[in-house]
Amino acid sequence: MVKKLKIILYVSIAATCILGFLFPNQHPHFWWQKIPVFDAVFGFVGCVVIILVSKWIGHAWLMKKEDYYD
């Protein structure tokens, strides 16, 4: 089951990236909108950054025991 899902994921990554090359943005406002796989890279890097940075802030500062306010 997990293996099947992994294959689906890989196929969809490949498919969306290829489609990115086939249909470039017709009206780019910024230079990165001209890169066909920019959103894929941004999605991956952004997600990793969100997870790591938030967890780091949380563990270093914001997260407290559940009875903190009691």
């Binding site: 990115g20 943005n25 909108q33 894929a40 999605g43 997870i51 997260m63 407290k64 559940e66 306010y69």
Partner: protein, 591 residues
Amino acid sequence: MINIPPAFIYIIGALLIPLIRVRILKQALVLLIPAIAFWNLINMPHGTYWTYQFLDYELILGRVDKLSMVFAYVFVIMSFIGMVYAIHIKEYGQHVAALLYVGCTLGVVFAGDMFTLFVFWEIMAISSVFLVFYRKTKRSLEAGFRYILVHLFGGCVLLCGIVIHAVTTGSLAFELFDFGTLAAKFILVGFLLNAAVPPLHAWLADAYPEATITGAVFMTAFTTKSAVYVLLRGFPGVELLVWMGAIMALYGVVYAVLENDIRRLLAYHIVSQVGYMICGIGLGSEMAINGAAAHAFCHILYKSVLFMGMGAVIYVTGRSKMTDLQGRSLYKKMPITLALYMVGAFSISAVPLFNGFVSKTMIVAAAGALHRPSIELMLHLASIGTFLHTGLKLPWGVWFGTNKGTEDVIEEAKEPPFNMLLAMGIAAGLCTLTGVYPKILYDILPYPVDFHPYAISTVVAMMQMLVLTLAAFWIYIDKLGGEATVSLDTDWPYRMFGRATLWFCNRPLNALRSMGQDLLSKDVVSVGKISKHPYVFLEMLWNSIQGKRVSYQELINKPYNENAYRFPIGFSACAAIIFLFLYGLIYMGVR
């Protein structure tokens, strides 16, 4: 059209509910009220209605234009969905509170002057707090009090602004404000508090998860979105709001990573999503304004699906923490709820064919058209976070997940009652409908829409982003389970203020009191003794003149005998004659 303001349809309805004794009629009434209001809205042409003269000012209860109608439509639709979801509730007080709340929100939307707006604004806060109180737990009671205190503070700031505005301009009209004035700044703070803009947002994540299961569904829709409406009306194009909105969109995302309570996680995503709207308001172009209004419309629908889904989970399991739910294979027992929740999750994540896509992309495109690269990227980043949490982490943690603790199966879990599923179904259906056929939404927006969300490159870019977010989620899946913690937020100062006051009274103030007590308590005893025997000092003096040695202790312990100190009557008579003589002398001398 019925010739009363839409707000009063709800308010009168709310007042009728306690008078009806038959339960089925009550249920019919709470569904009939939104239906009447909706029919009324459809038949209400644009214009200004119900104006009254009050002192020197003009009160307007019905300013009907495109902007107010977008919000009125979605509020009325939402009130119907919320009522279907809550119809099984036997405590009709909750219905009364909810209807008053919705009515006052409509009052705010149609208010043409600041006085009317303020009155409805305050009743909105007061009626909504009962949706928190009705949970009847200690936590909800405390959270409710914090909620109402914060909102009353916001109301006071707003009132300050309104009074200054009325005095300086001589008008109460609710139009575009001049941001440079002092009055506008006060009013803006009042509005921003209700829109839950950090650092004034903590009431939302504090109170919503403590509200009743059905009450929270109402709360997610009305308070913040009515604030978005008034900001759209009063402060479009204020540069400050652009940055506040973009930061807010990311702020909610960060907290959502840390959150363990399932509805609090969603509450932080309200903050994040309202950030898009605030940003759109700040950008101020026609496209951005349209985007903000459209996003508010869509947000109300999909957020209600999400809150209803999580509410259903809490309803059947009695658990609201991810750490208590993950790894219990709940998906086997409530697949319909899961499917409907996922429609909401795909909508908020802006998956193409769902309604978040047709509104969120509009705001982001408006940022692009105005050439704001950093804003565009920040909004994109927040969008990734949204999919990560509401689309992946939360359903994974609640319905699937790996069980790290004991093998405990939630036996009582099943699908929620039919009315709850129906309400979710209606909302999910509307999310999909507006996503597939956005024209029905675009036609009611304030400005003409020249935007095509389904350009193939936009769809492909969005899909790339979502698929790769999924890939990153997969890699970090073990890191993303719930952790049994609470997160510090900007409610820390006022939650700690009470504790600090208590500490101050207990320690320093109490020490001062006991020091004073120690010092004075001995003297109090001797003063008491002396007052029993007032002549003791004179007696000691007399004794020492005579050369007698009698100790103070001996004298003071001797019972007081008044006859021992009594003078003969002749002494008093003599003294009276002497004083009369002296008086006579002085009187004569003065003359």
